[in-house]
Symmetry: C2
Subunit: 217 residues, 2 copies
Amino acid sequence: MGAVKTKRMPRAVREQQMLDAAVQIFGQRGYMAASMDDIAELAGVSKPLVYLYLNSKEDLFTACIRREATALVAAVRAGVVAGLPADRQLWDGLLAFFTHTAGHPDAWTVLHRQARTHGEPFAAEVSALRAEIVDFVTQLIAAAAREAHRDPDLPEDEVAGLAEALVGAAESLAAWANATEGVTARQTAATLMNFAWAGLGSLMEGRPWTPPPASAP
Amino acid sequence: MGAVKTKRMPRAVREQQMLDAAVQIFGQRGYMAASMDDIAELAGVSKPLVYLYLNSKEDLFTACIRREATALVAAVRAGVVAGLPADRQLWDGLLAFFTHTAGHPDAWTVLHRQARTHGEPFAAEVSALRAEIVDFVTQLIAAAAREAHRDPDLPEDEVAGLAEALVGAAESLAAWANATEGVTARQTAATLMNFAWAGLGSLMEGRPWTPPPASAP
């Protein structure tokens, strides 16, 4: 009876279970070592069903990258409230980013490491995600410049460069935080805020950027 | 006569010529598309000689990664003078880094993109390079903290995080600068100094970090 019920589960739900299992296996073992048998077993389905729904290991991996990239971008966008001061928007965005990568370490490994380690088609999927996040950060920095009436002094190239620097720093820190015992998403976001907003120079002079109080313990 | 002379060239010189050609072909076409025929032709040697000296495409690629990683680390270390103030050391290091990546775009593509895109053994080679640079930057930041007598206030974890952020930002910016027309190494280094030292916050208030005057035009 249970088996019959399981089989009648809608395809969309089944697919998500397969992707959940695949992200976990790909993230923990790497793309090459991951087997479709293990993914099917962890998802609680037959291997032919995985192939029927998701076609091949390559397509399954691509589906994982797309789903996790979309989820990460959505989490960052959901964390940021338009209209707040730029430093607050940046802080909220970073906190949302590091909270998501800390909460989904296998997904972050798939996006940051696996997808870039196994060939061009996968790397291109991640490039698209990255371009969207860089664009979002570029707009934030440009908005901050407008707030401070610094528009004419900050050339477009420099804003683009700052956005690239910030995204590169965030990617690097997310991997480091997930690999380092006892570092919280909030601490990681504060480290990057100190770096990006207050600046190392200010930080060294004892003037760190102060995050707003946490709403929950 | 010329041919005889060429054949008597020392092995070490020949190998460097093969690596020069390989870095160019790998960087411009990617690891998969690069052919040993093209590499041998560009190096002006026979394909069997490439195999004799460097064994396989995999080993040739690994040799490229090692040589270029060593050269990049050496360039950064050579650019920094111990004993100068920390912000000056950081500036000199960044300028050396971006000058090297701009002057060796194929080598940077091999290290930053190709090596991470084609499997674990190559990615591990680059990780070792990266760890060395992160370590170097960590020491710089710790030295800056000591200079400013901020030792007890800056926990080890935060220094490590700042170094990760800075290296990630530099990697990201190097790729961006090489792909963006008309951006110089000096401008790229200044962008990252603004970001890292003066901080975005100070930058927005019109207080950018000012690089020392260029010694040559």
